[in-house]
């Protein structure tokens, strides 16, 4: 299972799913990896990670059996 992308992150990456990066298994390292690969994401006012459909803290670990999603600033309503 890849990492799910939405909104401006989907547009930046050019795909709605990102292949699971090797050796990344916690939220903080995923964010660091994203900022390195896609530096323009640093301009967003926030970038949250959801693990199994719940907002995750930086120290949360995950594996490639979890559903991981990148959540740029939401703008519903």
């Amino acid at each position: 299972m890849g990492i799910l992308l939405f909104g401006v992150v989907r547009e930046t990456v050019g795909s709605s799913v990102l292949e699971y990066p090797a050796a990344i298994n916690d939220v903080a390292s995923l964010k660091r990896w994203l900022y390195e690969e896609y530096p323009s994401l640093k301009q967003l006012s926030s970038l949250l990670i959801a693990v199994n459909r719940t907002y995750a803290t930086d120290n949360q670990a995950f594996s490639n059996t979890d559903e991981v999603a990148i959540i740029p600033p939401v703008s519903g309503g």
Partner: protein
Amino acid sequence: MDVLIAIKDNITVQEALEFIQSPACGGEVIFAGTIRNNTQQRPVTHLFYECYEPMAISEMQKIADQVKEKWAIQKLVMLHAIGDKYPGDVAVVIAVASAHRGIAFDACEYVIDILKETVPIWKKEFFADESAH
């Protein structure tokens, strides 16, 4: 508390009203968010809404759980539209019914405030000058 949560292409205030009407409730407060024809004075042609649906539904359910904890509300509706939306279209409807009106106002405003902060739905605005944001 009876709860109706839905994310779909088209939503109406009427369906929310029908769900919350109950002879046991005296006060009904409804918020409808509609597409405006401008954003900060710039003419808008349309908006596109997308969502991370299973998580959005789960976050909406969490808001409903908080409402149930905080207030004596009998009925709660949370509807959000997705896809292309044009000025005047309804994007979101929150409807609350309770025996007394004060808490219905409080709960309705709380729900739309938190929904805009936590529910993974995104809008993209298309402007008349052909740019998008």
